[in-house]
Every structure is written in C-alpha cells, then in structure tokens.
C-alpha cells in the first residue's frame, strides 16, 4: 500500500459522502419529471441536511443514550460500507476488509441499530416501524444471499473486487444467470431502501410508512445524520449493483487518469440508475405491508432461477 492508495481511498469515501445526497436529489428530480410535476432542485437534499444541522435538537425526555448514539453508529456503518464497496477502484486498502456477505452483515448492523433506536422512546409508531423494518430485512436477506451466491459461482469468491475485476476483464461476456439475479437485486434494492413498491419515501401516512416511522422521534443533527445515512445506503446498494452487474470502467490501478475516468463513468452510471429507479417507482404502486413478502419472495425466486441457470447450463 502506498500513500497514494490511501489518498485514493479517502477520496473515494469523500466522493461517496458527497454524491449520495446528490443521487437522491437526482432520483427525486427524475421522478417529478416522470410524474409531470415541477421538479425540486437537485441540491435539495444538501439544503435539508444543512438546515437540520443548524437547528436545536429536541429529544424525548425518556430517550436513553442508545437513542443519541444510534445516528452516529448508523452513519458510521454506512461510511464504512462505502469504504469497502469498490465503487471507483477495486484495489483500495479497505476493499479487502469484507466480502459481500460481510457487507450484508454491515447493513444488518445498521438496520438493527435504527430499529432499536426507534423502539427506545416507546411510541406506537417507533415500534411499528421497527418491526416492519426488521421484517423487510429478514425477507430481503435470503434473496440478497442468493444473488451473491450466483456471483460467487462465476467468480469463485465472495470478494466483490475480485468478482468485478473478473467480469470486467472478460470480453463483454453476458451471463443469463446474472440477468436473472440483476432483476432480483433490483427488487431487493428497492425494498431495503424504502422505495416504492415496498415503502413510500414521500409519505407520512402512519399506516403505510416504514422508514419515516423509524425516524419520527429524531430531529436536527440526529435526523440529518440518519437521512444522510439513508442516502448513503441507497448509494452503496447501487454501487454494489454496479460492481456485480456492470463493472466495466472500475479502475484496477491507482493512476490518476484511470481514477478520473472511472469517476466519470461512475457518474454516468449513477445518472442512468437514478433514472431507472425513478421509472420503476413511477410505474409501480405501493404494496400493502403484507404483500411485501410476496414481492421479496419473487426476488428470491429470480435469484434461484439465476442459480439454476448457472448450475444446469453453466451460463
């Protein structure tokens, strides 16, 4: 590891930190366009975070230290995940610290802390949100594991950088199994990031919300951190998707030119992915909470199909 690797690593983390709210803004803008609404400014998520940081925090009088600690832990895990996921380059110092399964574990840690914090104040919404969030979590994880399984069958490892390097260096080989798993992964991504059809990020209607119910008691800087962490989570998931399914353009060395190119390509991919998410959210309707298992079971079946295609046909 040279000093330049570390510089590249820190730049990568900073890029993720800065790009995550922007990506969320882009998705919101695309969605507004598709729904014939006047779009909010691209920079709105930044403004929201900035505004929240400048406010006095109001905390429920019966909140425990866990409640105040949780936003930092959640934000910390998401930044750690951003450091580990090969979003720009595959050979950075931290990319070896965890494989894809450990990344799933990292996201689970964040989810557990969010849910515990939501239960801490003891309101009906908090516990309701916690139990729904954990339910979506345990339904999504098997599907996500199957996706990783298929990718690891192709790459003979569960390490994301190795899988993307392998896939990127082949001469545009298209794997049908990966196509199935890409569908499954997209569905998991939507569910895990509280997007339509599982949750509606724009709602505060008590009976349907999940993500917003978890954050109901947070305000000011704690809320800002939680929102930023949520944006980072979406960004991280999209980057995992890129690493698995469209890894072309990831830098395999730390030369400044290559890194810049890979950064630009990442931007282009993000623009497309954001538009894609907005499109899915526009054409699908929010499901009832108890239809979410069916949605995620479908994701699981797609991943299993991918697995069978890989095992039976070797494709």
């Amino acid at each position: 590891m040279t000093a330049f690797d570390w510089v590249a690593q820190i730049l990568g983390i900073l890029a993720a930190l800065l790009a995550a709210p922007l990506f969320l803004g882009w998705v919101n803008q695309c969605r507004a366009w598709l729904q014939n609404k006047s779009a909010p400014p691209l920079m709105l998520p930044y403004r929201g975070i900035r505004k929240l940081f400048h406010k006095d925090a109001v905390i429920a009088s019966n909140a425990s230290p866990l409640f105040r600690l949780a936003p930092y832990v959640v934000f910390g895990t998401m930044v750690t995940a951003a450091a580990i996921i090969p979003s720009i380059a595959t050979r950075l110092p931290f990319t070896r610290a965890a494989d894809a399964i450990a990344l799933v574990g990292l996201f689970a840690t964040a989810r557990v802390f969010v849910s515990l914090a939501a239960m801490d104040v003891g309101t009906a919404f908090g516990t309701l949100g916690a139990r729904r969030e954990m339910m979506i979590g345990f339904l999504a994880e098997p599907a996500l594991l199957m996706v990783i399984f298929v990718a690891s069958l192709i790459g003979a490892t569960t390490a994301l950088p190795q899988i993307s390097e392998l896939l990127a260096t082949q001469s545009l080989a298209l794997y049908p199994s990966l196509a199935f798993t890409a569908v499954a992964f997209t569905m998991v991504l939507l569910a895990e990031n509280a997007r339509i059809p599982v949750d509606n990020p724009a709602t505060h209607l008590e009976l349907t919300m999940i993500h917003e119910a978890l954050l109901l008691e947070y305000s000011a800087r704690h809320l800002a951190l939680m929102e930023w962490a949520a944006a980072l989570k979406l960004f991280n998931y999209v980057c995992i998707g890129f690493a698995l399914f469209i890894p072309w353009g990831l830098a395999t060395s730390q030369a400044p030119f290559v890194l810049t190119l890979s950064l630009l390509l990442l931007g282009a991919k993000l623009v497309l992915a954001g538009a894609g998410i907005a499109l899915i959210e526009t054409v699908s309707a929010k499901l009832r909470v108890f239809r979410a298992p069916e949605f995620l079971a479908t994701a699981f079946l797609f991943a299993v199909l991918g697995l069978l295609v890989r095992l039976l046909l070797g494709a």
């Binding site: 429920a60 019966n62 309101t123 299993v304």
Partner: protein, 668 residues
C-alpha cells in the same frame, strides 16, 4: 505417566474433582448464603478459569490416556484428553467462570432448594460435564452422562413446590433418558462384536456400512435429544424457564455442547470414515430446527422461553454444519469439510458465550423485577444500564452482526456452503444452495428476535409502575456478565487467532485443517485460492473512527443545544407504556407469515361483547401432533398390560415360573 502433575489430563481431572469437592463442601453449612453462595461459587469460578487455561494449552498436544482403577471390578474408568476434548473443556471452563462469578452474586435469597444443596448440584453438574468430555470408555461416558442429566434435573426443579416446574423437570428427565438409551444402544453397536467398551476398541472395530449407519443414526437421535434437535426439542422451552438463570445459562451454553461433542466423537473419531449420505440427515434436520426454533422464538412472550427457542435455532445451525462436514468429508472435499467443522466448533464456542450472557441478563432482570413476561417489562435501560449494555453485546452477537462473534461462525458456515456446487452428487449440489438461503433466513430472523428481546425488555417505556424502582445488578454479577461479553467481543475480533487452534483440533480427526496466512493477524483469509477475506478489526476500527470523527465534527461545527421534550403523541394527550407494541404485537408478522408452523387458538370478541377479550395461544404443532398421541399410546399400552397385575401372589409366582422355563429353554 512420568510427570504426573504436569500432565494436562491429570490436571484437568484434578480440577474437575475439585469442582465436585467444592460441591460437597457446600453441605457443611447448607443454609448459609454467604458461605455456599458467595465463597464456594467464587472458588468454582477460579477452578473454571484454571480449567480453561489448562485446556487451552493442550489443544494441539498429543492425546494422552490414563486408566483409573475405580468403578466396578474389571471395568476401570478410562480417561483421555485430545484436541477435541480440550476444545470443549475450554468452552466449559471459560463459560463456567463467567456463570459462576455471576452465580456468586445471584443466589442471595435461596431459591427453594437450600444454597448448600444447590451448590452441590451445580458443581456436580459442572464436574460431570467435564468427565463426559474426558471419558474414554462407554461405561465412564454413560456414568458421567447420567450424573449430568440427574444433577441438572435437580437444578431445573429448584423451585420444586411449583407444579409446572415439576412437570417441566419430568419432561426433561424423560427425554434425557430416551436419548441416553439411544446412546447406549449406539455404543452397543459400535463395539462391533468385540464386547470391549473402551473407545479404543471401538476405533479399531470394523463395522459393516449398515451397522455403522445404524450406530450413527442412534447417536444422532440420542445426542440430538440432548441438544434439542426438532422434534426432540420440546423439553428445552419448558426446562429453561423453570431453572434458575445461571443454570439455564449452563444448560443452554454448555450442556447442549456436550451433546455436540458426543456426536462429533462418535461420527468422526469412533466410526472412522463417515459415509457422505449420513450428512444429509443432520443437515436437513439442522436447517429445519434452525428455522423452527427462530420462528417460535419470535412468537414467544416469556423472555426465557424466547431464549430457549433461540438455543434450538443455534443448535440447528450447528447441526447443519455437522451435516455439511460429513457430506464434504465423505466425498473427499477436505478443505470444505475442514471449513464446515471449524465453523461448527466456532459456533459452539460463540453460542456458549452469547447465550450464557443473555440468560444471565434475564436472570438479573428477573431478580430486579420478578417478571419473566415480556408484556410487563420495558424501559429497563434507564434503571439497569449495566445489564442493558452488556446484554446488548450478547444480543448483537447472537443476531450475527459483524464485528461480533456470532457473525464469524455464520460467515464461515456460509463460505463452506459455497462449495456445495462442487459436490459430485447430482441434485444435492443444487439443493444445498437453497439450504444456505434457509440458513440466512434463520440468521436474519434471529436479528428480528433479538430486536424484540432487547427492545421490549430494555427500551421504550416501562409497562408496569413497579419497573420504575428496579435496581441494577450488583458488582459481582456485573463482573460475570462482563466476562462473557468480553469473550463475545474477543472471539469476534480475533478469528485469525482462534481458527488455527481449531484447525489443529480437527486434524487428528482426519481433516486437513485450514492453513491460514500466519502473518496477517488482522485479515482472515480462510481459503487462499478463493481470495475471500474478512477483517473484523479493520471493521471495528473504521466504524469507531468514523463515529468519533462524526461526533467531533458535529460538536465542532454545530454546537446547537439539545432540548428535552415529550415524544410525539399525535396531539392526543400523554402517551403511556401500554400504547407501545407488545411482545405479542412484535411477533404478529411472524405468526402471519409462518402461519402453518403454529397451532394457534384464537379467542376473538364479537361486536356485542360487553367485556371484549382478545386472546391468542400459540402452541407447538409437534407437541400436539407427535407427543400427545405418543403419550396416549403409551398410556393405552400400559392399560392393556395392566391386567397382568392381578394382586394375587399365585399369579406372580406363575409369571416367575414361566419366565424361568422360557429362559432355560433359550439358554439350553
């Protein structure tokens, strides 16, 4: 034996005898809590720590044997210490240390049984578990095994004046003995006609494949009954809530592992080369057990029953690993088999620490509040911060979250599942990845269960007024909890130190072991050819660094005030503790999703009820579908043969005469 006292085997057996002696010392002043509770349990903890040290140093030593001239004539007791025994002795010693420290502070009021007698039962239980691990002949093994079952039976029925506890104890004893019969029969098959019941003779016996399979199945049934494998799991959720918390911790954390030890000993040591298809049975049973246990855990409202079901889940995970190890070993995939078996041992060790920690946590809560029912707890993190934060470590660990220990072993197991497609058996290699998905489902559900467990007990608002005066655990109890919590953290952070030791443990059993890169003490790469890596220390360091930097940055740039206010109540007035989700409510999605698993009886109010009442009783289908009919059958058979008992001496003499004639005809 040239240097008797420096031999680890002699040291181990001496330490186990010291445990038994400590137990008997308790009888000197049986009613004194200060003597039997405080002093002797602390001594027992020291003894446990010493045992753990001795065992840890002899993990990779060559096996040694001694023959003790005690027991029946011509049946001396053989003891043997090898890597496998040492690994489990370490588990026993290290876990018992924490539990005994906690128990020294816990048994202060005397719980039914006088403390001195309790001390005897407790330490005999510990010593017998140790001798189970050291025994090297079927006779000694069964002796220790039965002592373990009996002493734990008396510990379970400490509060024997309560009828439910007596019946829970009876159920436990019954299933323990049915299991013991199967184990005995298995040893009978294993000796293979030589009529030598030492384990050495069994290692040498050449069994035909069919007999070997029968021995394996009997052992699986017998040890599975002790471990709580579905459908023999029914005693666990009854016995664990009945027992005092340190005893539950020992039973769940250690005793279930002695059953695992027995199965590993029979399968990989006494039987020699297992056949690949044997593995399918523990694998399928294990996966089903894991899912079944965790689903029921999510639906429980009693905190100790919840943990008991969670133990069933973890036993399922462990048996899944055993199945995989047999499957891979039987098809010659050595690296994968080693990985699976190391995952098994690692998870057994992890589960011992984390489940003991959780059970002791519930014990502290039980002492502070007198409540086991989740529906009457809540908000205890304010009154019992020490117990709450230490229990949180255990809860996060058992939920399988990095960088704690539960994650490491589940990660290893999933890594070994990734070899499944290389199995040279059609269908099996395609079905196994689905098994991995089931395992992940169970692990993710464990997260759900732990959020429920921790959230309902420690977070939120108190559901009862009495909880506002609950007291935190005493200093001695905190030390016991902290010991186990530190164990959870260390096992999670240093897998690179633990795995090479476990690798040396399994090598004498015919496994290749894993060759880790010794230089990278922070980066775990179990299989160099796969390049898969995991670095828990980096994980923790980065998370902690980022958290600290964020806190510092937020403090530095934005020092806005924090105001305290009322939580959001939708404008309807003051919230109270009864408006939170209950434990039943938290289990509702699970009951809805996994409806076929539960036998539910619902009482729904009609719209015209003046005093509407909603009640749901969640039952175990296996209990109703298997055990109750079985019990009825036994009773019917008993009734049918009851006519033999006529109460006239002439008839009984006739029975004796007929028996004698039949036996003579057989013998002559």
């Amino acid at each position: 034996m040239t240097e008797p006292l420096s031999s680890p085997l002699v040291l181990c057996s001496l330490l186990l005898s010291v445990w038994a002696a400590i137990g008997f010392t308790g009888l000197i002043r049986p009613a004194s809590v200060a003597f039997a509770g405080r002093t002797l349990f602390s001594l027992g903890a020291l003894c446990g720590a010493a045992l753990a040290c001795v065992a840890a140093t002899s993990l990779s030593a060559s096996p040694e044997q001694i023959v003790l001239p005690i027991g029946l004539p011509d049946l001396p007791v053989h003891l043997r210490l090898d890597g496998l025994s040492a690994a489990f002795l370490f588990l026993l010693g290290a876990t018992a240390t924490g539990i005994s420290i906690f128990a020294a502070g816990y048994f202060r009021r005397g719980e039914g049984t006088p403390p001195g007698l309790m001390c005897l039962q407790y330490h005999l239980f510990l010593a017998s578990m140790g001798f189970v691990l050291l025994a090297d002949d079927a006779y000694g093994f069964m002796l220790a095994w039965e002592t373990m079952a009996l002493s734990s039976y008396f510990l379970v029925t400490t509060q024997h004046r309560i009828p439910e506890i007596r019946s829970a104890g009876f159920l436990y004893l019954l299933i323990a003995h049915i299991g013991a019969i199967a184990i005995l029969l298995s040893f009978g098959v294993l000796q293979g006609g030589s009529w030598q019941f030492t384990f050495d003779a069994m290692r040498g016996a050449q069994l035909e494949p069919a007999w070997a399979a029968i021995a394996f199945l009997l052992a699986l049934f017998g040890f599975g009954a002790k471990a709580g494998l579905v459908p023999m799991h029914v005693w666990l959720p009854e016995a664990h809530p009945a027992a005092p918390s340190p005893v539950s911790a020992l039973m769940s954390g250690v005793m279930l592992k002695t059953a695992l030890y027995g199965l590993l000993r029979v399968t990989f040591d006494l039987l020699g080369e297992p056949l690949w298809w044997w593995g399918l049975i523990p694998l399928a049973l294990g996966l089903f057990t894991a899912l079944y246990g965790v689903i029921f855990a999510a639906a429980q409202t009693d905190m100790k029953r919840l943990l008991a079901y969670s133990s069933i889940e973890n036993i399922g995970i462990i048996f899944t690993g055993v199945g995989l190890a047999i499957l891979f070993a039987g098809t010659g995939m050595h690296a994968a088999a080693s990985l699976a078996l190391i995952a098994v041992l690692y998870h057994a060790l992890n589960h011992a620490f984390m489940k003991s920690l959780l059970f002791l946590g519930t014990g502290a809560v039980l002492h502070a509040t007198g409540e086991r029912n989740l529906g009457r707890l809540g908000g205890l993190i304010h009154r019992m911060p020490w117990v709450a934060w230490l229990t949180l470590v255990g809860a996060l660990a058992i939920a399988g979250l990095p960088p704690l220990n539960g994650f490491v072993s589940e990660w290893l197991l999933l890594q070994s599942f990734l070899f499944a497609h290389e199995l040279p058996r059609a269908f099996v290699n395609m079905l196994l990845p689905l098994g991995a998905a089931l395992l992940v489902l169970a692990a993710a559900l464990a997260g759900y269960v732990m959020v429920k467990f921790f959230g309902v007990i420690f977070l939120g608002q108190p559901r009862e007024a009495a909880l506002r005066t609950a007291h935190d655990a005493g200093i001695v109890e905190r030390i016991g909890l902290a010991w186990l919590a530190i164990g959870c953290v260390l096992l999670g952070l240093f897998p690179t130190q633990v795995i090479p030791m476990l690798s040396r443990v399994i090598q004498p059993l015919g496994f290749s072991g894993l060759s880790l890169d010794e230089r990278s003490w922070w980066l775990l790469v179990p299989l160099p050819q796969r390049q898969t890596s995991y670095a828990p220390l980096v994980f923790l360091a980065v998370i902690v660094a980022v958290v600290l930097m964020t806190i510092a940055a937020v403090r530095f740039f934005y020092h806005q005030r924090v105001r305290l206010g009322a939580p959001w109540d939708c404008g309807f007035g003051r919230l109270n503790g009864r408006m939170q989700d209950t434990a039943e409510g938290f289990g509702q999605p699970i009951r809805h999703l996994f409806n076929p698993f539960f036998a539910m009886v619902r009482e729904l109010p009609s719209p015209f009820d003046l005093a509407p009442r909603y009640r749901v009783v969640v039952g175990d289908r296996i209990w109703r579908g298997l055990y109750l009919p079985l019990g009825a059958l036994v009773r019917r058979i008993a009734n049918a043969v009851a006519w033999l008992q006529q109460g006239r001496i002439a008839n009984y003499l006739l029975y004796s005469f007929v028996t004698l004639v039949v036996l003579l005809a057989l013998v002559l």
